[in-house]
Symmetry: D2
Subunit: 369 residues, 4 copies
């Protein structure tokens, strides 16, 4: 029988995602309807590592009035952080940085706050931390968050839909100007290991080229694809480039300009590809890097609903004592799955799957043939 719940904490970790505030709002509203109190912990575990942490707000009790208007807002009102793993916490001592384990402090502070359970919203990294905090006695329920949609345990995660919409809007805009100017437009989008955002927005935007981490590309194949378009009287192209896209190993078809070697890490896959391709075409090449525009903005209705459902389901899971579980979408139902299982199961684009095939069917080249 589950312990009686009266006070819970909620934190958001990892990169921010449109829909995080929908989760927070649903947790607060539903918990309050049950008579619980909800403490918002700031900047992921930072608020538990140091109870006096402020950047800028600090931990605080969240009332329904605090969350009424946040559904439409991107980001997270609790802040987030990529640098607050309590098991590998970086501190500076005598001018040197070193890692320490502050997880005991986290457990202690959790008790000081008299919290009965913790809802942790986050990605892979956050879920691994959640699992380890669970092992140390903190009752945790997980809510999955990855804008890259690369978690096998759930059909969708919130944020992905909004990100793909932002990329698709960008492609729509580039289509007009590419066609007017006889240009090749390279659009770099997120996706270090998984190409879902690039693939989905390329299909939705009617792009002509799409390069993703799962399908290594050959620059020559991309030049060929553009030339085939030229020969059909279409002297322009849109190429969507996942930031993690890589040329096929051993491909020597293009050395690229000399400067490439000197390119600071700052410059991503799209600039590199454009620099490789441009000398072989009689068309101007232009690069757009969407960057964090993909992470921001008001969430789409899809992500607001998914976030709301995840938040409500997480409260149910806490009430039912389902600790160590993570909520997940198995269309059309929300279910719970063990956190440990969930994080073991990454999802990548299947180069032979239906979605890649649908992309090819509408004329998208992946630069592999």
């Amino acid at each position: 029988m589950a312990k009686k719940i009266e006070r819970i904490g909620i934190m958001t970790g990892g990169g921010d995602c449109p829909g995080l505030n929908a989760v927070i709002r649903a947790v607060v509203l539903k918990a309050h309807a049950r008579g619980w109190k909800v403490m918002g912990l700031e900047d992921a575990t930072a608020g538990l590592i140091d109870l006096d942490y402020r950047s800028p707000h600090g931990n605080r009790w969240l009332e329904p009035d605090d969350v009424q208007d946040i559904l439409v807002r991107g980001g997270t009102i609790l802040g987030t952080s990529n640098r607050s793993d309590p098991f590998h916490f970086v501190v500076e001592e005598n001018g040197e940085k070193k890692e320490v384990d502050v997880s005991d402090t986290v457990v202690e502070n959790f008790k000081k706050l008299e919290l009965d359970a913790l809802i942790s919203v986050g990605g892979d990294g956050s879920m691994k931390i959640a699992q380890k905090l669970m092992d140390k006695g903190i009752p945790v329920v997980g809510v999955p968050k990855t804008i890259d949609q690369d978690l096998g345990a759930t059909d969708y995660t919130f944020g992905f839909n909004t990100a793909v919409q932002a990329c698709t809007d960008a492609i729509d805009r580039l289509q007009d100007t590419a066609a007017s100017h006889d240009r090749v437009m390279f659009l770099e989008v997120m996706g270090r290991n998984a190409g879902w955002i690039a693939l989905a927005s390329a299909i939705a935007g009617g792009a002509h080229i799409c390069v993703i981490p799962e399908i290594p590309y050959r620059p020559q194949a991309i030049v060929d694809a553009i030339k085939r378009r030229l020969s059909k009287g279409r002297p322009f192209a849109i190429a969507v480039v996942a930031e993690g896209a890589k040329p096929a190993e051993g491909d020597q078809s293009f050395a690229g300009p000399r400067e490439l070697g000197a390119m600071p890490k700052l410059f991503g896959a799209a600039y590199k590809l454009a620099a490789q391709i441009e000398p072989h075409l009689d068309l101007d090449c232009r690069v757009t890097v969407l960057g964090h525009i993909q992470r921001g903005g008001s969430p789409t209705q899809f992500d607001r609903i998914l976030g709301t459902r995840f938040g409500a389901a997480a409260v149910d899971a806490v009430a039912e004592g389902k600790f160590g579980q993570m909520v997940a979408l198995r269309t059309p139902e929300i279910v719970t799955v063990p956190i440990s299982e969930a994080i073991a199961n990454e999802r990548n684009v299947d180069p032979n799957g239906q979605l890649v095939q649908a992309a090819r069917d509408t004329g998208i080249s992946f630069g592999d043939r």
Copy 2:
């Protein structure tokens, strides 16, 4: 073994839906890649009932160039019609309207055009016609289309996502002005029999009241919900009203103003509800009717991808001789199901389901309690 395919026809029937052009585009591009020709038939079966029909274009062969730019466009480049059931075709003779069966003409014209198969994109009504044409010897593959999302055979249909986004955008806008002015805003959205659009947009927009056909409402309960908000210092409310929303049978709590009896059919559920509620509140009531704004507009990325996948899958189904089948989404795969089965299985909002519960959890009243 399936007959060799060389020429296929495609038509779109019923109310238009954002995403129809994505289906048409994918069919044309994929069919051309296979070496087939694709004839676009105008205004649903109208183009097959009369080969000379023009409104304004007439039937025409669709080339890849004809469909390159249509992905971003709402509506359907083929036109559509609700008045072209060949089994109950309305003709005017001597000033009188009567129904005739012109299905033999349709079969004859299909042969005249030397088409090998037909892809019919449409709703319930169109699928029933497709099934009957199939029985008369026309090889048909179906693509489901219902903006109301009320088809049990498929997880999603295209158009629904765009419609809910349009309604959510409208609610976002009304929130600002409702709060500034101490008002109750009624937003009427589509949904004659199924309340999915109202339910989804109420959750996504953070509405306060939602009335849908599946949950009969009592005006008194709605007044009470608004007064509860008032008593908490929130002197405004947003109510989302499905056009098919109905008061609970026998509910006599409100007679409503006398004019209601005289109200022309033109005025829908939101006006009626507002007229019932307003006299019992000390807040201004305002009505917005979104109407066909929900059907138009550039499709969201979700609907463009779903439409593209349905189109590509329909061409596969034709190639594989899967006639009498309809494509459907079983997340994350596209499958085929018998048309006959699909149309037998309507999907309504479950008043006790997870989605209604998530709505209640975030403070939405359905006017039933």
Copy 3:
């Protein structure tokens, strides 16, 4: 020499407008930079009539942190009211409503709050009140606000740009579905006395018919315009209807259906026009009423900039002791004009002006010929 300013008040009156929060933000930020304090007064003069007034917030000092994030938000964080004219204030006594003059209380409360000046953001009505408060000794600077753009003293007022964009977006959506379905779509937009919103959005959206208060229409002329389109193979039309549109006096061309007489006041110009027109056409007619969607939503960049400039200029005017003046845009400069002059000078659409001519040039019928 102007009195030393230390504390000012700001209020927003009349219907809300996208851009009001930009004004408030600029006033607070600029005033704070000068070392002043700014009190936000709630619901127009309501906060001055009764210092204990709460709906829901009450008067409060506004700090820079309170306004940092409001630039993107529609509505007004101060609330507004149409019922708080202190010279004609409605009170209920023994169940009866009567008007009283509470302007002395306003002056008294203004002194109690130790305010040195008042910035009043509002329309015609608010400016008249401001002028009268000025005459009673309150130093007022005005900021014009009318979504209808009907003030001759300033090239633009904020809110208009956002409203026209909302209407144009709606027309864009209706275009797709009107063309797909052979329909006449009526879109009712704001504009009781001035047709600027209807005119601008009709041009921007490529509508086919536009009826505005300044050009009385004849239903027959509208039917003719639609039939001319039909005869050219365009069996659909979009009609933009200002809420104040009226048929030409004495026009008897259409009696309209009998129900029209019984139509509650609730139903506006678009429904009436549609009911008059539909019987004379072989096309479905549909009505969309945008309502307060036009007032809400995040302001366009144009309105945010104009609001910001108005707010900054109002602080300058206070600093320079320019009381009784109103800020105004004379492109590209912000100037000040006497409030008394400004409110005397309404601006209506000139039926023979360039803008109407440009509309006619692109095929828009005003139903007058």
Copy 4:
């Protein structure tokens, strides 16, 4: 007395701009209403230099049906080009590129097409060419086009409003994620010589830093501005960077990282600034380059109306024989001004003007103090 007009040509030159299609549409509709024919010339003067030029369409007569739906579309249906100055036309001969004067051919082809006048829509460069063609006997009317808004002769040019809206939308999105993550976001926008886009979108988006060509920046001043924010508990910032922004001459406050010297020209002002600033802050820096997203997309209502009015006024100017004139907006009227005058008068941001002051008033640092 002006020559009788029967056939006119229209071309669009220079970078594309949202609103170009509105101009083309208005010209075609209004000219046809007068009984004229309108030839669309492809890719600026390319279509006049070689009558057989195709990329992909070639010159063609434009009918009302060709332009009905283009109002909502970005780009230009006529194509454009930066490489078609007939007075300095680049040809390749024996593998070498050289410039030739083909203006006589242009005059000859103009006569061959039996055109009576030419409407040239373009920027600075196009207007200079127009003036020179005028001198050789081609009757030209100009329509100004510059997305940078840097033409003194007209209050606004179309495209600018849409571009600023795109940048403002981007800033809105970055605000959420910057605040959630304690980051400095650099957004590079257009503006090589004039900073209007950066300035306007910085005000509208509530950015914290804005660097423009007209106000040379000192990196140290930007670091200081960010640190002032940090000290007030706001550990994040948005910096809008015009592509032509430059550090103050002789400023040695920052050498920047060594790689900067090796940076290919491809990388613009924002990357350079970020690389200079990041080492001096304890905040992550991220760069977004909007690129051609600013040029594409459906034009705002403002730009559609301005384009429509310019197009209509250009036809009037042709009808009245006002050759050598350019249409221009002097709010609220459209007027004509001599092309020669117009191109002599560039407009830059005035560092001491109202708009820069309004930006400073709302807390924007220009990095100059």
